[in-house]
């Protein structure tokens, strides 16, 4: 008995050790990046790397002074919120219908766009949106990013809808609901956390995507992530500002992930296990 307890304790200790090792590997690079953003620009690439330094927010000031950083951030926000909303607007009913009918090709179709390299779309979309004079508009960016968000929403939500007992929908039918009303009154309230997870994931992936903005935006609508490259240019590589920009760009997705991590594990994995 006490022998088993010792083994138990030993296993727990081993697990903690592994946890710590994993944690260090996972977190160090990010921590280093954040630290660098508070170093003077030339010190970022100093060698040996400085660990002790007098932190400065100069890089952040530089960033906001030399680039329309907040404009880019607002562009990113508009595009991301727009494409996430569009993804939810189209994705929720589609996921519901697919779950109801078990006819899965609409869901697979939306995923097909994910299988082609993003570069394949650049020129055609440019030509397409040029035709309707939407280059540089938020509309074009939101539509292109919705191609990313839509399959995320559908595939995360599918298993959530699947997990609602069929009879609940039938009871609602008997009670007098149309299909659409069942979606609104019964299904959506029941998959709330699934919708939250899909929204967060859609937000993160849309926020992180840079390729489409490269050709579909212009100086006024450029997203943060597309603008990030502007910090690496001949004669003007601002390492400090680059790290500051990187930190700020990564902040919203990381914050969101922190806020919803509990649901994330449940929601994401549900999709993976069943989908």
């Amino acid at each position: 008995m006490s022998d088993a307890q010792t083994t138990d304790r030993w296993i727990r200790w081993l697990n903690t050790l592994q946890l710590v090792v994993a944690g260090i590997i996972i977190l160090t690079p990010t921590a280093w990046m954040v630290m660098s953003s508070f170093k003077p620009s030339f010190e970022v690439t100093a060698y040996p790397p400085t660990v002790i330094f007098s932190p400065t927010i100069q890089n952040y000031i530089e960033l906001t002074k030399t680039t329309p950083f907040f404009n880019y951030a607002i562009n990113s926000l508009i595009v991301t919120v727009g494409s996430t909303s569009l993804g939810l607007l189209f994705g929720i009913p589609a996921a519901f219908a697919v779950s109801w009918t078990r006819i899965s090709w609409p869901a697979i179709l939306t995923l097909a766009a994910r299988m082609a390299p993003g570069t394949l779309f650049l020129l055609p979309w440019y030509v397409m949106f040029r035709q309707v004079d939407l280059i540089g508009s938020y509309t074009a960016l939101i539509l292109s990013h919705a191609v990313i968000t839509l399959p995320i929403v559908i595939w995360v939500l599918l298993p959530s809808f699947d997990s609602i007992p069929r009879s609940v929908f039938e009871a609602a039918q008997v009670d007098g609901c149309s299909v659409t009303r069942i979606l609104w009154r019964i299904a959506i309230p029941l998959v709330g956390s699934g919708i939250a997870v899909s929204a967060i994931l859609a937000f993160v992936f849309s926020w992180n995507y840079f390729l489409f903005a490269l050709v579909l935006s212009n100086g006024d609508t450029k997203t943060l992530i597309a603008a990030a490259f502007n910090f690496v240019g001949e004669g003007s590589t601002q390492w400090g500002a680059l790290m500051a920009a990187a930190t700020l760009i990564a902040l919203p997705p990381l914050l969101l992930a922190t806020l919803v991590q509990r649901w994330l594990v449940a929601g994401l994995t549900l999709g993976a296990v069943k989908g």
Partner: protein, 295 residues
Amino acid sequence: MSQATATLTQDRQRLELSALSAPAVIFTVGMIAFPVVYTVWLGFQSFSSTGKQSFVGLANYSKLLTDYEFWHGLWVTIALYVLSLVLQLVLGVWLALVLFHAKRLHGLVRSLFISPFMMPPVVAGMMWLVILDPSLGAANYILQSIGLPPSDWLASPTLVIPTIALVDTWQWTPYVALIVLGGLQSLPPSVYEAAQIDGASPLKTFQRITLPLLLPTIVTAAILRSVDLLRFFDIIYITTQGGPGNASNTLNIYGFRVGFEFFNIGYASALMLTLTAIVFGAVLAFNRLRGAVAW
């Protein structure tokens, strides 16, 4: 008569359901139909050097067969794919097990563990580029300070693929772990109790019970990662641009460079479509595999 009315209800409901999925379908078709058709068309065109455009039939595709860079790119793509996938699946399962047993882990800490894949790949690429610089980066400094020889990392033609695989593994292992964690949580506890009663050791339990039961989940994770890994782009675009030499010139990077650096859109289109077909094939194959390991 009765037949007709019966189908009426069915039709009404089906109509309503179709109407619900219609926006997503119409939107997707609207967004991808033209690009696909246009790219197929471009693939039959030649835009070579003089910029004159002409129909060349399958010339771009037959060029693929004799293009050393294409075959090399395919090899690089597959090498990077296999290496990254194996690393991520193995480490992902390990991390999931560690997290699964750390039940009292605070939510905030847990979210830190999954943070890498939330980070924009562009940012991750920039970050690692600075860290892995052979002369200036922190990575070599750490190696040297613990008495190991410095490495050329991304600058070595032999190490660049493992290094990129490591960077990608750093970013995506937590994602795999998250998926596997879900799989672990959905396993019926009674199975473990049964195994315990049967007298299986922890190792045996993992080997004979946990792993087989997790296989469908792992295959799912493999599918999700395959789609991205076969189209490996962001991190290479930021860090090596396919170099040194052509050591990290994946098909996606090669196709991109052919189109946007060497301005041969026709050949680039043929490359992109070929890559798309490869991704599609891999997903289909894995889907089969998932059917085979389902329980």
